[in-house]
Symmetry: C2
Subunit: 225 residues, 2 copies
Amino acid sequence: MSVFDEELLDLKGKVLKMGAMVETAIRDSVRSLVERDKELSKAVIGRDHQINSLDVEIDEDSIRLIALRQPKAGDLRFITTAMKITTDLERMGDLAVNIAERALELSEEPLLKPYIDIPRMSQLAQGMTRDALDAFVKRDKRLAMDVIMRDDEVDDLKHEVLKELLFFMVQDPTTASRAMKISFVAQYLERIADHATNISEMVIYLVAGKIIRHMSLTEEQSKRK
Amino acid sequence: MSVFDEELLDLKGKVLKMGAMVETAIRDSVRSLVERDKELSKAVIGRDHQINSLDVEIDEDSIRLIALRQPKAGDLRFITTAMKITTDLERMGDLAVNIAERALELSEEPLLKPYIDIPRMSQLAQGMTRDALDAFVKRDKRLAMDVIMRDDEVDDLKHEVLKELLFFMVQDPTTASRAMKISFVAQYLERIADHATNISEMVIYLVAGKIIRHMSLTEEQSKRK
């Protein structure tokens, strides 16, 4: 294995590591909401700087790799895609912090209703994150497309959550403040899924040279039927 | 001027052009909401593919530039930053489409109340977009910091809008659906401003090698007093 191949392997490893940290942040932030665990919320917020540091590290490694090794086009695209992906991952980490902040606030007030859709959204978002990065390092177009297809389910769950919360607010206006905060959590999770979808679109562009946006994908799927 | 310098100038021009298109999309989407102008909303939605095309074009130009000219570190960082910035711009374009979609829906229902804070948020977001890109092409750290400082004003306006809408919903639950849609518009505008802030943070990192996140900036400002 050449030095460059080793360095590329290192880079992939760091991207996967950053993805794992983000997945953990999503899982823990939602768990801290459901279990009303203030310490866990604070832990998520406290660990975010580690995600940001890895973003900078990967950026620096990438620049160095490009400048020193002058990789050919295929590897060059892979590295610049890694740089874009870590930007999405860093934003996903920020969204997990936002969830943890709302969890802290909500733990100060009585529980509005048991959480069912939000934990489901969280599981989907975690899976999409993991699979989007897997698709990237393995250059797996099918897996990337699979992630994009899951975005609809997250959107549908978000709409369900918002509808349900609207119903609460209309029935009993004293629930409005809590309902709004919970609606924010659902929107943060939907945005996390959106980022995983964006990563997958970048993977498809990298592998197939095609722009797949969600709309185009649905057309692609219809053609295959 | 060398061929490379010309190509770099071209790249800057395209980034500014993409920024101008996004600025227009923001302005028109909010105007279509305030003026209940369905045709304008549809025009914003229809033009989005042009923003996406420019994103791809800038990406391809950047890859070609790096592969063919093997730029030294400073120029290399500038080009990879351009690639990240266009990702943010493309997302901002998507958010303008989201605003236009809500505008279409709201034009089907009676006006809830005159729009005051939302047009203000829109002006701020447009200005932040323009200045963030100016700061990038001119490598202007001060201007980038100035954009980041404006983010607080947008956040404050968003909170005002949400508070006001909550009040409406509590007073008269029949307003809930319209109030929610307007709250989404405020949140889209806040996210647009966030993207402009992210671009500015990337400019500061490019120019000064420093990570400035909003919190660090407030500390920096305090030290100077």
